[in-house]
């Protein structure tokens, strides 16, 4: 057998196997397929060795701009990843296993995911978490559908300051359902959002907000939570996990369901995936959580062990009555998140958040002091903020890209009225020198 396809059987073995089943050739085995259905084309290149493939891939990777200084976020963040994360998640027993359907020979994955659920609960201030969803956007959509199921209502209010990509995913998910989705336009610089509170009525299933929001502003949603609960609606908060090392947990602010994207926890940028979505809620809503959940139990000898639990909610049992269609999730990325959090530890994680905050505050000061540049966030921010420039932001970003700096995300594609604004992200990986360089370049462009 050629080694190209990773098929081990030798021609001799193939002969023996065919003989054992009385077949003359492998073609005999494909006799159930009517001849008229055979492939009309299969025009693919010949294979190659792993070495040639790697050389080709290195060439391909080299076609991306190297060493851009990233001041862009938009839901994906350039954070440090300790070496232990790659090493441990690269253990073959983790990454070449399937979903832990057989608990006795899957305790490694099961216990790790139980620990992951615990970490998510502790970060978000919630009581229960599932074992991961696809990503931040789909997690928000699942939370929206969860709120519809829980309340039996069909109206959702979403803050326009939620990440526009995530809002679009919610819109896509709801497009074919009988649901009213009300978007409340964002207002930069307003902290406690009266507009949102005014939009809640007694048909509202949930209010969906993000903290920090897309513009980087950190909000206190306690009043919004109170209003929502008074109207019988849920508060769904989308959170940036690294920020939770510094800012108050959504749970403490009154959220009922918390979602977010876990990329920032030990998962590389990797052009947008894979990462994981997390979803956590108050305990009373556990049966409405989508996806897999790991539960603690005991074995016949009374030893602690872990199993997939509440599977009756899932598609492989409930089929079309399931809480969600999700099957494969993002286990390995969630495991990376857990290892990341464990290796930094409680204090380290708080320090990480603090580093992000301090660096962004420094950048805010430096950029804000440039002539004609205005920081638009009224209140506090975490590691992103919005600046208004004296000129079209898209042009500035284009000019800076050429200098090797991805300076920020211009807002006009998402908020056409904000064509002079962009969101600048500053993670712990950005050095003071890079921030100063950004400021110098920006000044150079604005002066020219």
């Amino acid at each position: 057998m050629s080694t190209a396809s990773y098929c081990p059987n030798t021609p001799e073995e193939v002969r023996e196997m065919l003989a054992a089943m009385g077949a003359a050739s492998i073609d005999d085995l494909f006799q159930p397929i009517p001849p008229g259905l055979r492939a009309r084309s299969f025009d693919l290149p010949a294979g190659m060795s792993e070495f040639e493939m790697l050389r080709r891939f290195e060439h391909l990777a080299g076609k991306n701009a190297q060493h851009l200084a990233h001041f862009v976020g938009g839901g994906y963040y350039d954070h440090l990843i300790p070496a232990v994360v790659d090493h441990l998640s690269g253990r073959a027993e983790f990454y070449t296993a399937y979903t832990p359907y057989q608990p006795e020979c899957s305790q490694g994955t099961l216990q790790a995911l139980f620990e992951y659920q615990t970490a998510i609960c502790r970060l978000t201030g919630m009581e229960v978490s599932n074992a991961s969803l696809y990503d931040g956007g789909t997690a928000l959509a699942e939370a929206a559908m969860m709120a519809l199921r829980i309340t039996g209502r069909n109206r959702l209010v979403i803050d326009g300051a939620v990440n526009p990509f995530h809002r679009e995913v919610v819109r896509t998910y709801l497009a074919n359902l009988d649901v009213e989705l009300v978007e409340i336009g964002p207002k930069l610089g307003m902290e406690d959002d009266l507009r949102l509170r005014a939009a809640i009525d007694d048909a509202t299933a949930a209010v969906l907000v993000q903290n920090p929001n897309f513009f980087g502003s950190v909000s206190d949603f306690r009043k919004l939570a109170a209003d929502a609960h008074a109207a019988g609606a849920l508060l769904v908060v989308s959170a940036y996990p690294v920020a939770l090392g510094l800012i108050e947990s959504p749970g403490a602010m009154g959220a009922d369901v918390v979602v977010g994207d876990g990329q920032s926890l030990g998962n590389p940028l990797s052009f947008g995936g894979p990462s994981f979505g997390f979803i956590a809620s108050r305990k009373e809503y556990i049966r409405n959580l989508p996806g897999r959940i790991i539960g603690e139990t005991v074995d016949k000898k009374g030893q602690r062990g872990f199993v997939l639990t509440l599977q009756a909610r899932e598609q492989h049992i409930k089929r079309h009555k399931a809480t969600s269609n999700i099957c494969s999730n993002q286990s390995l990325c969630a495991l990376r998140g857990l290892i990341f959090l464990s290796s930094l530890g409680a204090q380290g994680f708080a320090e990480l958040a603090r580093l992000n905050y301090d660096k962004a505050e420094y950048a805010k000061k430096v950029l804000g002091s440039l002539s004609g540049v205005e920081v638009m966030n009224g209140g506090a921010t975490f590691n992103e903020f919005t600046v208004c420039l004296p000129t079209i932001a898209e042009e500035v970003v284009t000019a800076l890209l050429r200098k090797g700096v991805a300076a920020g995300v211009p807002l006009s594609p998402y908020y056409p009225e904000m064509e002079r604004c962009m969101v600048v992200t500053v993670t712990e990986k950005r050095t003071r020198e890079e921030i100063d360089t950004l400021a110098r370049h920006l000044e150079g462009i604005l002066c020219s």
Partner: protein, 481 residues
């Protein structure tokens, strides 16, 4: 094993962060500030390494055990794929979405585009989107595309038809898009009952979702006819690609008449399953559905450059954050690049050979509800063993003690006490022979000493677990310190 939280010691520190090179900023307002750091583990780096290394050793996996889990295609995951994907770790997905940013992401955009093109050729479709993040996500996306198609044509559609052997995600996905489900039973010959199918097909059917070969491992010889019937009602044919491994290079769903398909790159194209994910579920469509594909769409210009298209007017919009699970896509593209045309054909041939070999060697001791040439997997029933009180789950636990990951049990639901075996093409005759011997031993033991199964597994860190207690107590988060 203790939980990492139980191993924590207050004040113990792990990985060190770089020192700050900027002044400390004034504190956040108290209302916004977290009062106590989240109670994350407090462990040294060595604690963390020992903990997770120890946990990893409590798993079965392809690299340590034969893993014939039916419907999951647990083939060997070439180690070089990890290296290939790592090459793309540093690239930010926002870059091509910045103004004029796509010229800074030609490598990533090119990989995604060329992967889509290769998958289109492999499946006989006109265009492929790589955005969906797993098979089920692909199904949902595919059904949304179908809904958009009918809406654009002004069709009034209400139902999606699935066979009763279908995977649970099919009806669940269609439901999420707002359709009602019509289930067609399986006929004694192992395929969807054609007469019943004809009966349920009306102009209100939006789509028919088929897995082919189906979850019994059987290829439906009437598939062309089914497509024709569906098209007569302007219903679209949806192909669940979970079993594509069986027919690579042999049959292309697009040639047969399917309009929308999804693939599971983590099954067919050798990317690892990661203990349950991440996967990747690209969706392929025929021409008439292209306008509805999710945005952002990656395109190739005449000059050979790649770009990101402005959202088309009819697009169903984003189904996930960016361009799909790119790291997984990179591994799949590396796999296709290495295996190549001839190799992919060999994959399906050897997968089918291995499955039929196991089927032939076991069918005298286990019931085979549908005794025909199978494709890449075969489904037995433990009905004969149940007579002596030994169930499929017991045989599964016996296998664990012998170092084999059990086959899929109790699926498909239409086979009682189902044991669904998918050896994949990357396993050798030696491995299969050893597995066959152990399966035969299980059948013998079920005759000679059925009570012996009760204590199995006995070689694992835990014995059988109490799932009822778990569901009743719902301890899903550690409440200690």
């Amino acid at each position: 094993m203790q939980l990492i939280y139980e191993k924590s010691v207050p004040g113990r520190r792990g990985v060190r962060l770089p020192a700050s090179d900027v002044p400390a900023a004034p504190e956040l307002p108290a209302a916004l500030r977290r009062k106590e750091p989240a109670a994350l583990p407090e462990a040294s780096e060595l604690d963390v390494v020992r903990h997770f290394t120890g946990l990893s050793r409590r798993n079965f996996s392809v690299d340590t055990n034969f893993y014939p889990l039916g419907s999951c295609t647990m083939k060997y995951n070439a180690k070089v794929l990890e290296e290939a994907a790592r090459l793309f770790a540093p690239y930010h997905p926002m870059v091509p979405l910045l103004p004029h940013g796509s010229s800074f992401s030609q490598g990533c955009l090119g990989l995604a585009y060329e992967l889509g093109a290769a998958l289109a050729e492999i499946t006989g479709m006109d265009e492929v989107t790589t955005q969906p993040l797993a098979g089920a996500h692909g199904e949902m996306t595919g059904i949304m595309l179908i809904a958009a198609y009918h809406e654009a044509k002004g069709n009034k559609k209400k139902y999606v038809v699935v066979p009763d052997s279908s995977h649970g995600t099919n009806p669940a996905s269609a439901t999420m898009v707002g359709y009602e489900i019509i289930t067609v039973p399986t006929a004694p010959y192992g395929d969807m009952d054609l007469d019943r199918f004809r009966e349920v097909m009306t102009d209100e059917v939006a789509a028919v979702m088929m897995t082919c070969p189906n979850t019994l491992g059987l290829f439906n010889p009437h598939i062309q006819e089914i497509c024709d019937i569906a098209h007569d009602h302007d219903a679209l044919m949806y192909y669940d690609g979970a079993n594509l491994n069986a027919i690579l290079g042999k049959v292309r769903p697009g040639d047969v008449g399917f309009d929308v398909i999804h693939l599971n790159l983590h099954k067919t194209f050798g990317t690892p399953h990661g203990g349950g994910g991440p996967g990747s579920g690209p969706v392929g469509v025929k021409k008439q559905l292209v306008p509805f594909l999710p945005s952002p769409r990656i395109v190739k210009y005449d000059d050979g450059c790649y770009g990101v298209d402005a959202p088309a007017h009819g697009s169903i919009g984003r189904t996930s954050g960016f361009f799909g699970n790119f790291g997984v896509m990179a591994k799949a593209f590396a796999y296709i690049t290495m295996v190549g045309r001839e190799g992919l054909i060999q994959v399906s041939e050897q997968a089918v050979l291995n499955a039929n070999y196991v089927m032939h060697r076991l069918k005298d001791v286990y019931d085979l509800p549908y005794d025909q040439t199978c494709m890449h997997e075969c489904v037995f029933s433990a009905a004969r063993q149940v007579k002596s009180g030994v169930h499929a789950i017991d045989i599964a636990k016996f296998l664990i003690d012998r170092g084999y990951h059990p086959p899929t049990v109790y699926f498909p639901l239409i086979v009682k006490e189902a044991i669904m075996i998918e050896p994949t093409e990357t396993e050798s005759k030696e491995t299969l022979d050893a597995f066959i011997a152990v399966m035969r031993e299980a059948a013998e033991l079920a005759e000679s000493d059925p009570a012996a199964f009760a204590e199995m597994p006995r070689t694992m860190p835990v014995t059988r677990l109490d799932e009822t207690k778990a569901a009743r107590e719902q301890n899903v988060c550690y409440f200690g310190c």
